[in-house]
């Protein structure tokens, strides 16, 4: 299992390292660019966990959709690259307390949760099962989410539409 661990830490390093650059970088293009690596790192961890479908959807949705839209915003905004983003520290104490509580919560969840370990080996492909579950057990939620996305789409289109008057 050692080889497996090395790959896991490699992906974790890529994810955390690039996420750090996203937050601290003063150049918005670099920030957007390193977000690409964050998404890839997360996708890599999904692959390691045997969630092949989730990994590929992660790339399709986040890298192929959301990040591209973000880059569009950056590219279409003139002179945005020369603007220095303020990355100073304000309200140090409340931030430290908040982050400390969050960190503690995550660590305690990690340590004290009774993880449900499945006795079955990782299935070769999760796609078929996900599809079956979506269309049987979770069909209502699935349809509702579809409606929600449709409403968002129509809303965005009607906001973007210029008035004819």
């Amino acid at each position: 299992m050692e080889f497996y661990d090395i790959i896991f830490y490699l992906f974790a390093l890529i994810t955390i390292g690039s996420a750090f650059v996203v937050v601290t970088s003063r150049n918005i293009v670099y920030a957007a660019f390193s977000l690409l690596f964050t998404f890839f790192g997360v996708a890599g961890i999904y692959v390691l966990l045997g969630a092949d479908f989730l990994a590929i959807v992660q790339i399709m949705v986040y890298v192929g959709g959301i990040l591209i839209l973000l880059l569009f915003g950056v590219m279409l905004t003139n002179k945005i690259t020369s603007v220095e983003i303020r990355t100073g520290t304000v309200h140090l104490l409340p931030a430290a307390i908040g982050i400390g509580i969050l960190f503690g919560a995550i660590i305690s969840v990690m340590l004290w949760t009774n993880w449900n370990i499945s006795p079955e080996p990782i299935p070769p492909s999760t796609t078929a099962n996900i599809g079956r579950e979506l269309i049987t057990n979770y069909v209502l939620i699935f349809e509702l989410l579809g409606m929600l996305l449709l409403i968002a789409l129509i809303g965005a289109a009607s906001i973007a539409r210029r008035d004819k008057e």
């Binding site: 293009v29 660019f33 690409l36 092949d52 479908f53 590929i56 959807v57 790339i59 399709m60 890298v63 192929g64 959709g65 591209i68 880059l71 569009f72 590219m75 279409l76 070769p124 492909s125 796609t127």
Partner: protein, 343 residues
């Protein structure tokens, strides 16, 4: 098969595909020039080698020895990275395209595909969305307004047509009940090709493929009269060659996908009725695959030299108001087919 053998076979397959790919890309350029010459009633390249057959090598050599100029206003790291993203995406897609059924070689059962991934089609879609990055970065990092306009146009076009492309593929997936390219081809046994069963989906997919590869009539990203050269205006030498190769590699991969998804892949109808030997059958089937791909390549080039370019608003209207509804109609049609005929 042990791990070592698997790795060795994978490396051999990759090497074969990379070599074949570079040759095919080089010769598709030659093919394009010859066909354009034919369409315009002139000779085409005929000086280097017999009937100009060595022309591609001369072209590549010429591009390699040219000076590499990076404009002052360019963002250097991204400017250098962009052509490699384009090339990487174009070549990585070949990993999941099956060239033929399994073949028995020296006692090993070899699958004629580099990676037999069970979500191969999703992998292709994910890589296509990555392809947008090469062009976007190229357009933005060049620091020139022509490049930027080309890059933005191209990204908007590719994102729009990815939608109808994805929905057309959904029709294929409904019939094959698998995301594995090999099983999609197996599902099209005999004459049950998807192009026959779902002609609307075939048309929307082919049109989207044209838009995704930025080929005429949808080559607005580089529309010469308005944008000089679009996103590769500021590129020269090897970086330009990388974009050029990527464009042709994309064209070939689009042809491979059309053949795999809609034209039955390596399937030849009724070949098992002829009683040929196993090896001969496989060779014929691989030949059939290559023949279909070359035909689609010819089609790509033929269309380029026959149809004028669309205007940008027309392109977007076709994408969203014609192709997208049609691909939805196709899904409905396939569902009805499955309901009635239990395919």
């Amino acid at each position: 098969m042990s791990l070592l053998e698997t790795v060795i076979f994978a490396v051999i397959k990759m090497l074969v595909i990379v070599v074949v790919m570079f040759l095919t890309v080089a010769y598709s350029v030659y093919f394009e020039r010859k066909i354009s010459a034919w369409a315009q009633n002139r000779m085409g390249p005929n000086r280097v080698g017999y009937r100009g057959l060595l022309q591609p090598f001369a072209d590549v050599f010429k591009l390699l020895v040219k000076e590499d100029i990076v404009p002052d206003a360019a963002h250097k790291p991204l400017h250098t990275l962009a052509p490699f993203i384009a090339l990487f995406v174009a070549f990585a897609t070949y990993a999941v395209v099956p060239f033929g059924p399994s073949i028995n070689l020296f006692g090993y059962d070899v699958k004629l595909v580099v990676a037999d991934v069970n979500i191969g089609i999703l992998y292709v879609l994910a890589l296509t969305s990555l392809g947008v990055y090469g062009i976007t970065f190229a357009g933005w990092s060049s620091g020139s307004k022509y490049s930027l306009m080309g890059g933005i146009r191209s990204s908007a076009q590719m994102i729009s047509y990815e939608v109808s492309m994805g929905f057309s593929i959904a029709g294929v997936l409904l019939l094959s009940e698998s995301l594995r390219p090999i099983e999609i081809v197996n599902a099209q046994y005999g004459w049950m090709w998807n192009a026959v069963l779902q002609p609307i989906g075939f048309i929307t997919f082919v049109v989207s493929a044209f838009a995704e590869t930025n080929r005429l009539p949808f080559d607005l990203p580089e529309a010469e009269p308005e944008l000089v050269g679009g996103y590769h205006t500021e590129y020269s030498s090897f970086k330009f060659a990388a974009f050029f190769l990527a464009e042709y590699a994309n064209m070939i991969i689009a042809s491979c996908l059309i053949v795999t998804l809609y034209l039955g892949g390596w399937q030849i109808p009724y070949i098992d009725k002829l009683g040929l030997g196993e090896t001969l059958t496989v060779i014929l089937q691989v030949g059939a695959f290559i023949f279909k791909v070359v035909f689609m390549l010819f089609f790509f080039i033929w269309v380029r030299w026959s149809i004028p370019r669309f205007r940008y608003d027309q392109l977007m209207n076709i994408g969203w108001k014609v192709m997208f509804p049609l691909s939805l109609v196709n899904i409905l049609w396939v569902a009805v087919l499955i309901m009635i005929f239990n395919l």
